[in-house]
Symmetry: none
């Protein structure tokens, strides 16, 4: 597609494969969403990376959509591997293993929240900081995308509203279904969300655009 056309065959170079995976995954998710919105279709997309990581999109409830799929397909049990479960000792060890894992996860969660940090070494704190910075950055980027879409959708609605002189139908864009554009009551919502749009900058830029969107 760019410097060179590629053959559709497995990319051997692992790094290149990973990069391509990231790019194409995004593209595919975007196009799935566009199809759903443009054509009023119900779309579900499930992607497992080669390393087993899950990415998914669903234009509506994934659960409902998969349920609907089951009706149209011959698949009637997704639990085809119902292990006979040689109970007792297996059960016992499973349960304690899971309990330990739970404790681990809980500790990890509280440390990400900034609690229970005393036992950590400086390197571990450093790692935690980097992790949090990355997470914060990605959360902000996602939020910004969301807001950008909302603003675009809002503008579109206002334009429609002005040119039609009447209320548009309930949104079908899928982006803004929870935003109320209603001349009779908008602006009265007591709840608002402060949105800092700064993901494109580093997390330290306070040139961030601050918005308070009425929300409900």
């Amino acid at each position: 597609m760019a410097r060179q056309k590629i053959k559709i065959r497995r990319i051997d170079n692992i790094a290149a494969r990973q990069v391509t995976f990231s790019k194409r995954r995004r593209g595919l998710l975007k196009k799935a969403q566009e199809l759903a919105i443009l054509c009023d279709a119900d779309v579900a997309l499930i992607i497992f990376s080669a390393t087993g990581k899950l990415f998914d999109y669903s234009s509506s409830s994934m659960q409902e959509l998969l349920g609907k799929y089951k009706l149209h397909s011959n698949i009637n049990n997704l639990d085809k591997v119902e292990e006979p479960l040689l109970d007792l000792q297996l059960h016992e060890s499973d349960e304690t293993r899971m309990g330990k894992e739970l404790l681990d996860k809980n500790l990890e969660l509280s440390q990400l929240r900034g609690e229970d940090l005393q036992g950590l070494t400086l390197e571990e704190l450093q790692r935690l900081e980097t992790l949090l910075e990355g997470g914060l950055h990605r959360v902000r980027r996602t939020k910004d995308e969301r807001i950008t879409n909302m603003i675009a959708s809002l503008e579109q609605k206002l334009i429609t509203l002005n040119s039609n002189g009447k209320r548009p139908r309930t949104s079908t864009t899928g982006e803004c279904d929870n935003m109320v554009i209603n001349p009779e009551d908008h602006g009265q919502s007591s709840d608002s969300v402060i949105c800092s749009c700064n993901s494109l900058e580093d997390d330290c830029s306070d040139t961030s655009l601050k918005l308070a969107l009425p929300f409900n």
Copy 2:
């Protein structure tokens, strides 16, 4: 996208919508397949047209893939009536409850890392951002305390070293036991940790003190 750029919103004209659906559906299915082949990923795509027609693609067995999906998601019953699974209710209530909790924790963890954010609402993203900011702030504060103590301890050792002309005993401050103050080999460590000391300000101050402490 040709003669004109289109907005991503529902296409009102039914005929045009249908045409676009055909074209984009094919494109999407093709790209899903390409992703699966190029990147060795496992991909499932399910599309219901507005009229309820089903189109799907799966890079491997749809059944297996959806089964795998169930393990990664919190969806455990695609049927309204999940069969009690002729198993004993003890098993069901204990192990799966823990399994669910684990899945929850895992989801929460990946969201804190900034992954799997697509399903979240703006408010949830906002909450996540605030949580991460708080966590980052506390981690940085803890790290700064640690560094401050280390520096103080280091200085103390150097003073002792200079005035005594010999090595001090192993530190008793408890803060720096893992730092080597050894004239014969210090400075040869290839590892160092970059430390940003900025927790006293808000996380957005980049007046942070940057240090590179030799570390081992």
